[in-house]
């Protein structure tokens, strides 16, 4: 509210920068067979055409590069676009693949394993031990500790594990790339392993959540049986289903 006449000549406030978090589907490739990829993608899209139409997408080539399978990024991106998908980022790429992506205007997404691969350009040696390689992408970056109650309307995002020493209210949302521990009543939404870590777990001392999710697989409050509601539980992902067991 400019009350000072001298300030009214200033340009009105037109923009601001904010940082925010989105959830975007990640396409993890396990094969470099373009025909196969196309067929399977079409199948998936058929299941939920509206969901996939013009959906942003992040390419994850980590699995592929781990198996030493190369892929032509520009033809892959052309394929995705022909299926009305909008690739917006790439990760787990080698330097060459990254260069191809950047030329097509696809930015490199930070985090996870791309740096590791880039630095080990001359791969042969480490890649002989592929099988025993741990999943470097899912190592917790850090642990976020919260001691105050998380109230309705608040959102907390942790790049690693998230530990909450108080309650999480209904209408609050806690999100972690790693595990979630709540040493209080969990009434809000809890989403663990949001970057695709299927080994992430959720622990809480009283389960009354509105929604729980691990790596995108979720259950809503209605799906919780009376045998686990109001109990101290741990939740894990097994065979693509959320398993809830008493602690």
């Amino acid at each position: 509210m400019p009350t000072d006449p001298q300030h009214t000549t200033l340009l009105p406030h037109a923009l601001e920068f904010k940082s925010t978090t989105f959830s975007v589907p990640v396409l993890i490739l396990g094969s470099n067979d373009a025909v196969n990829i196309k067929l399977q993608l079409q199948d998936k899209i058929q299941l939920a055409p509206e969901f996939f139409k013009n959906s942003p997408l992040i390419l994850d080539l980590h699995e592929l590069n781990k198996q030493d399978l190369d892929i032509d990024v520009s033809s892959l991106i052309a394929l995705l676009r022909s299926l009305a998908l909008l690739p917006v980022g790439i990760r787990g790429a080698t330097t060459v693949q990254l260069q191809q992506a950047i030329e097509l205007g696809i930015p490199a997404n930070s985090g996870t394993n791309q740096a590791a691969i880039e630095t080990s350009k001359a791969q042969p040696e480490p890649h002989q031990v592929t099988a025993s390689e741990a999943e470097p992408s899912y190592i917790a970056v850090s642990t976020t500790l919260i001691t105050q109650p998380i109230r309705s309307g608040q959102r907390v995002y942790a790049h690693g594990d998230l530990i909450v020493l108080a309650q999480v209210s209904a209408g609050a949302e806690i999100i972690a790339e790693g595990n979630i521990h709540v040493y209080g009543t969990l009434r809000g939404r809890a989403l663990a392993g949001v970057q695709g870590n299927e080994d992430a777990r959720i622990f809480c001392s009283d389960l009354q959540a509105e929604l729980i999710s691990i790596a995108g697989t979720y259950k809503i409050s209605e799906d919780l049986t009376e045998s686990v509601r109001n109990h101290p539980v741990q939740i894990s992902l097994q065979n693509n289903t959320l398993t809830i067991i008493d602690l």
């Binding site: 509210m1 009350t3 105050q148 109650p149 998380i150 109230r151 309705s152 309307g153 608040q154 108080a166 309650q167 209210s169 209904a170 209408g171 609050a172 009543t185 009434r187």
Partner: protein
């Protein structure tokens, strides 16, 4: 050191203005110089509850815009000379309040007053935000029903993340729970949340329970804060709240069902 108290709730109609009037009067009656500010610009009510609506000349917005001094706008209460009221403007809206303007007025008031009570409007928009932004203590007024509790929880989240104290990483705002319009009979029938239910959800220090009471409506209609009606249950409950806020210990009353005359005589439960 002056303390700024915000009376807030998120939800409307739970008793914020009644509570603001009562606690401001209670603190003033204890001899502390107190100011109470109506932040509900456009829907001014505090002056009615305080019974000073006929004496409003200048208001909060006039002072912010520099059209009047603080001393011109402050109205001295007719029941207690330690209490002053800063009314809201009825002809403007909440955008007339600026963050710097509010800060400047509060700084000025802090020099003269021991307690400054900010009566927040409902909602979580500008008016409510500015009412809580500079607060040291927060009285969260909640009714024993789920939507009110949920809104209070939301407001608590805002207090702990968007207030001045939160932004400057100072000691957080002290939060107190005030459960109003409580009716033990209806709790017993399962029509209302109990004190324990509400505390379980909000996990907050309980400062007091104000029973649902006819005396509140009577007090509002006659323009005298209910705390002055010392015979009424609600008035006594507010007096307890003040005592507890000032550090005295008082047992909680009005949580259990009223005993009938025979119950009282024979002491049966």
């Amino acid at each position: 050191m002056a303390r700024i108290i915000v009376v807030t709730s998120g939800k409307g109609g739970v008793g914020k203005t009644t509570t603001s009037a009562a606690i401001a009067m209670g603190l003033a009656k204890r001899g502390h110089k107190t100011a109470v500010i109506d932040f509900d610009v456009g829907l001014r009510n505090l002056d009615l509850i305080m019974g000073c609506e006929r004496r409003v000349v200048y208001d909060f917005v006039n002072v912010i815009n520099g059209e009047a001094t603080l001393n011109q706008a402050l109205i001295r209460d007719k029941n207690c000379n330690q209490l002053y009221i800063l009314p809201a403007s009825q002809t403007r809206d909440k955008d007339a309040l600026s963050q710097e303007g509010v800060g400047k007025i509060l700084d000025e008031l802090k020099k003269e007053f021991k307690y400054i009570v900010c009566d927040s409007p409902a909602g979580i928009e500008r008016g409510a935000f500015l009412a809580m932004y500079y607060a040291d203590d927060a009285f969260i007024v909640t009714n024993p029903e789920v939507s009110s509790v949920r809104d209070s929880d939301r407001m608590l989240g805002i207090l702990s993340s968007k207030s001045r104290r939160a932004e400057q990483n100072e000691e957080p705002i002290k939060e107190y729970l005030l459960l109003t319009r409580y009716s033990p009979e209806r709790v017993k029938l399962g029509e209302m949340l109990s004190v324990d239910d509400v505390q379980e959800i909000l996990s907050l220090h309980l400062l007091g329970v104000i029973p649902e009471s006819k005396s509140v409506l009577n007090a509002s209609n006659s323009g005298t804060p209910v705390i002055l009606d010392e015979k009424s249950d609600a008035g006594q409950a507010y007096a307890d709240v003040i005592a507890r806020y000032l550090g005295e210990s008082r047992p909680h009353r009005f949580i259990d069902e009223k005993k009938g005359l025979f119950g009282k005589l024979f002491g049966g439960k």
